[in-house]
Point group: C2
Chain length 377, copies 2
């Protein structure tokens, strides 16, 4: 493949008059979706407890799967022989895979970073692996996602400036190598570059400018929501987003809470992913229009109302807080499933509302009304 | 309520010419179903991992919930205030609750049996409880199932004759007390009596005859599949079933494997329940037309066929053995769910086929063909 296929079919359709917020459409070979969008996380080729039909009912336009986990189990070859991730997991709409970098740095043991790549030990069985940008792209090619990510180093927080700068320079060289390796992708695949730079505004800008020069079809902002304060993350978005091309999709990796999504959208982000809604659900923490509640609280023992009276999801239409409390306190699988469904619905519904209000140019009003009476953190 | 409401709307519709096997229809206020039927077990007001819609798609006509578990958590009052089990768990079709007797004897600590009832300690928190026949009926009235069970003692196996006889006599007195307490049931509720007698043919006969005299709307055969050999269980059915009224439903409690279902049906049993399909599913053990397989075996790593090519369930139509193996090896919730669905479908489909072949009077041929190539035990 050559230059032309490095483009992506993304169009910006409306812009907020008070902020860089915007709506758009990303059209991929396996389907199109409107942005800003939230991508549910299907770590091991499954969004925990939920069926493809349910994910679609929630409004999932694209989901994310983790290269690191799938590379270890069941292995990229198994997925490739199954016909790729879509076939393997029975998901027909678009999929995005991360590069594996984040997990290599956060989950595995004894990783060693060299110019060539990263050596690490599997968190499952201690086996040794060496991942390079080329290897990451090759694995992602086998997995067959619609959007794949360049291999990067995700620096933990806090990190000193010298290390962050050294790391981002290496990540830039890895981005170039990833892009070169991606010349050989499957026809339906596209690769995004990743901006790093820790919490240093000038390094973020530098990383964004130099990554942009490589002319990826889309850009991710990585290394945020790794422990820094929310304000710092929003500041980094403020300096990074303006450096990215306005006509290409922007993806804030691993973020976040409803507040983070709103603040990201206001700063011009188009795509998000996070395990938060499903992970919290499994601990009985449910998002509602009045904030986050813990359904296992004694207060819900005889509460026969739905968890959120303002929610029209399957769970809130059919079940009471008392029933959910009963199930989740006993760790019943169906309770984990209902809570996961509800939280994903909440996140995807929030994105729908954000898109609607950007189009009507009423984003500020909507956000103000959303935050009123909201008690999450 | 008086005598007339102790009847039940059950009609036998066809009989096998070679065996006591029969089909029928049981019509309850919350729905009707054909017999012989298998009841999925929803221990804590949930059939583990599955939705009501999925249970219906599998062909579930009635499900079972456990009085002991629900009495302890969330408590019968919570369920009653929710509007009963149907409302609480969003299940509109019929429900059967057991009496709690089996769990009191098998799960709880330090139970002491007296003429009045059973004292036991909760397996959850050690709290002390005393259950009598009257209390069991009262709890079941609150839970609001369509069919409730008389309180009985389920004797473990092996048990000496003297104890079994003493116990069955007490169970008969408890049956009388249960029946009296049941005069006050909700309009849609019916109570079944339970035959005990261990593995002693004459005691089984005695228990059946004397329970029958009490004129319950239906009869269960309890205390089987508790450790005895299959043959012994089948012998007990051979002597017990003929003692029960031919016009009333017969329910074999807590049974069993596909083979047990077939052998029970051949002996004139109309209803079954068992945790086996869902429990085994969660360990990766799947029923197929060629027998039971363990999907986590290495042989399935790259097997991209469905678990059972002859099965037309949702799982077999959409997923490969390789994917199920991947999910279940990682204990993924969606894997437990798919396996549970598949196994329940298998059991309910087997019952459909048994009914079909009884009606056509081709039961023996069907059973022979089912067993050929079947490798379960």
């Amino acid at each position: 493949m050559g230059f032309i296929e490095m483009t992506i079919n993304f169009s910006v359709e409306s812009r907020s008059s008070d902020s860089p917020a915007r709506t758009g459409t990303l059209e991929l070979e396996n389907g199109m979706f409107e942005t800003p969008i939230f991508m549910p996380v299907g770590t091991r080729a499954t969004v925990k407890s939920l069926s493809p039909e349910e994910l679609k009912k929630c409004g999932t336009g694209i989901l994310l799967a983790n290269t690191y986990h799938l590379y270890l189990r069941p292995g990229a070859d198994v997925v490739a022989e199954a016909g790729g991730l879509h076939e393997f997991m029975n998901w027909s709409r678009p999929i995005l895979t991360d590069s594996g970098g984040f997990q290599v740095f956060s989950l595995s043991d004894m990783n060693e970073v060299t110019e060539d790549g990263v050596q690490f030990q599997s968190h499952l069985d201690g086996s040794k692996h060496f991942i390079t940008p080329e290897k990451s792209v090759e694995i992602q090619k086998k997995l067959g996602a619609d959007i794949i990510m360049a291999f990067d180093e995700c620096v933990s927080y806090p990190a000193d400036r010298e290390y962050v700068e050294k790391s981002l320079n290496r990540t830039l060289r890895w981005a170039e190598r990833s892009l070169k390796a991606a010349e050989d992708l499957q026809d339906h695949q596209h690769i995004f570059g990743i901006v790093q730079g820790g919490t240093y505004p000038d390094l973020r800008k530098k990383s964004a400018r130099r990554t942009r020069k490589l002319d990826f079809p889309g850009y991710a902002i990585g290394g945020l929501s790794v422990g820094e304060e929310n304000k710092l993350m929003y500041q980094m978005l403020d300096v990074t987003v303006p450096e990215l091309p306005s006509k290409k999709p922007r993806y804030l990796m691993g973020v976040g809470t409803p507040r983070d999504l709103i603040e990201g959208v206001k700063r011009g982000v188009d795509m998000f992913d996070c395990v938060l809604p499903t992970r919290l659900a499994r601990h009985g923490s449910l998002y509602t229009s009045r904030g986050r509640i813990n359904i296992t609280n004694a207060a819900f023992k005889k509460d026969f109302n739905p968890p959120d009276k303002d929610c029209s999801c399957y769970v809130c239409r059919n079940y009471s807080s008392a029933y959910l409390r009963h199930l989740i306190k006993r760790n019943e699988l169906y309770g984990l499933r209902l809570a996961s469904y509800h939280n994903l619905y909440f996140f995807l519904d929030l994105m729908r509302k954000l898109r609607y209000n950007i189009r009507r140019d009423t984003l500020d009003d909507f956000v103000e009304s959303f935050y009123s009476g909201w008690a999450e953190e």
